[in-house]
């Protein structure tokens, strides 16, 4: 579904239904997210405006460069639309840069986030690309994820610190929270969309069906 010249962006055939999950497609690995959703039988649609975002049944904020995403969101109403999606209780999945956007506070460099996830996100906290890695996580919330190790692809990942009282930690890497949930918002510092393991995607989709 990538790179089709002249074609419209990823929307699986026959899924123009308004119940599709919106994947914010300003910049980043939005196609990987659309593929991961398709793999569990959920239609996805690329969204690039506040209006498109509000008309989807849920929202994915993909990985990418958070500084680029901030710039592309300026003056578009997208930040407000994300807040509205979270407020009305639709399922939201944010990975890596997406998780940074939702955070209360961001470090390196310091700036406020959207304040929709009660954590502090430290950008590039594990180093540069040479420190990107695939880890099999074993410190898991068994109710949410079961007991098998969870494959997690970390790419120039942020670290989440100081989770507030409303934040459940569902997975940790060396003690650091790497998958957290606050109400209808699920956020990972790794990239479930780049792995074969669909448990995180399923957890997100299940939240929408509840």
């Amino acid at each position: 579904m990538t790179g089709r010249p002249g074609g419209t962006p990823a929307r699986a055939p026959g899924t123009a239904s308004p119940r599709a999950i919106g994947v914010l497609a300003l910049q980043g690995d939005f196609e990987a997210h659309a593929r991961a959703l398709a793999a569990v039988g959920v239609p996805a649609v690329e969204v690039r405006t506040a209006g498109q975002l509000l008309s989807a049944a849920g929202l994915v904020l993909p990985g990418g460069e958070s500084t680029t995403l901030w710039k592309l969101m300026e003056g578009t109403g997208i930040a407000e639309a994300i807040a509205e999606v979270v407020r009305r209780g639709d399922p939201v999945l944010a990975t890596c840069a997406g998780a940074i956007l939702l955070s209360r506070r961001i470090l390196n460099p310091e700036r406020p986030g959207l304040g929709l996830l009660d954590v502090t996100a430290v950008r590039n906290a594990y180093g540069r690309q040479l420190d990107s890695t695939v880890v099999r996580l074993t410190d898991l919330d068994r109710t949410a994820l079961g007991s098998d190790p969870l494959e997690a692809v970390f790419i120039r990942a942020p670290r989440l610190e100081a989770p507030g009282p409303g934040v459940e930690v569902l997975a940790r890497r060396d003690g650091d929270p790497v998958l957290v949930r606050q109400g209808n918002v699920l956020a990972a510092t790794f990239h479930p969309e780049l792995g074969e393991d669909s448990r995180v995607t399923r957890l997100f989709v299940a939240a929408g069906r509840r």
Binding site: P5, P9, G28, D29, E31, V134
Partner: protein
């Protein structure tokens, strides 16, 4: 002799290769901007660049001044890394294993083994699976793309003619690669080996493309992008992200043009947004018509 059968695809399913392609995935839909110093890097980051590419001179200056074009000075790379928080890429000469190792030791996020610099080897490219840092390489056709991926490139960029501000060759090569991939999908299995022979490409990668209709790694466009509409055109033709070299810092108002090209790369399918981004940009780079270049002046023919 090992008694097991060969497992050609192993390096491509390794965790090491997956995290390389993973970073390329994160850059999709973005703009990677050539910069020669920290000041330009900051302008690029503030404009919304998804990454910056450190090099000694932008292609238009390499073209104008001549001489041997080499890896960026180490001090410049460190200065750029200190100035921005987005990924920093840097170029090494084709086949220059030592420059590539130096760049890896500097912890750049991506290495571009680039025809824009003067080649160090007239027959061979770097064996990129030996490195932990990911590589991007240029191509003019599918065979060249698959040879580079076979050596371990985690991202491909179709070559335009760098430093000209003329989009014509980027278009030509994007269309060429797309057409060749489509053609492979129409073949029967009996025809795959002959196709591999004709393309001069690794058999297992030819099979992968025949079955999937796309490259196994992200495919970006580079060379000759000077306007927001040029960037949108590359996206329309299937490029998943855009490299911009001389087009930004050889224009009147680099910050504004950089921002406009970022906007057009995201909203490529919305002509009104591209139009709005194209307003009041001042003069673009003057440019050189690629068709008027002699074969010996072309950078794109480097790469084997």
């Amino acid at each position: 002799m090992s008694s097991t059968f060969p497992t050609f695809a192993t390096p491509f399913t390794s965790d090491a290769f997956r995290v390389k392609v993973g970073l390329a995935e994160m850059l999709k839909g973005g703009v990677i901007m050539d910069v020669v110093n920290a000041e330009q890097a900051k302008v690029a980051e503030d404009a919304g660049a998804a990454a910056v590419m450190a090099l000694e001179r932008v292609p238009a200056d390499i073209r104008r001044d001549g001489g041997v074009a080499r890896m960026s000075p180490v001090a410049k790379i460190r200065e750029i890394q200190a100035a921005v928080s987005i990924p920093v890429m840097a170029k090494c000469r084709i086949g220059h294993v030592a420059e590539a190792r130096v760049l890896e030791s500097l912890e750049v996020d991506f290495i571009d083994e680039s025809e824009v610099l003067t080649p160090a080897d007239e027959a061979n490219h770097v064996y990129k699976h030996d490195f932990k840092v990911p590589f991007v390489c240029g191509c003019r056709n599918l065979g060249e793309a698959l040879r580079r991926i076979g050596e371990g490139a985690a991202m491909i960029r179709t070559k335009g003619e760098a430093g000209t501000g003329d989009i014509v060759h980027a278009v030509k090569h994007l269309r060429e690669v797309t057409r060749a991939m489509k053609a492979l999908t129409l073949l029967t299995r009996d025809e795959w080996m002959a196709a591999a022979k004709e393309l001069g490409a690794p058999f297992e990668l030819v099979i992968w493309v025949a079955e999937n209709g796309k490259l196994p790694v992200p495919n970006f466009a580079a060379g000759g992008v000077a306007t927001p509409a040029d960037a949108a055109l590359c996206r329309i033709l299937g490029a998943e992200a855009i490299f911009v070299g001389s087009g930004i810092f050889k224009s009147d108002d680099p910050a504004k043009r950089a921002r406009a090209i970022v906007e057009a790369t995201t909203h490529w399918n919305d002509p009104a947004r591209v139009a709005k981004a194209s307003e009041d940009l001042g003069e673009g780079m003057k440019g050189l018509e690629a068709a008027k270049l002699a074969e010996s002046e072309m950078l794109q023919t480097r790469g084997w």
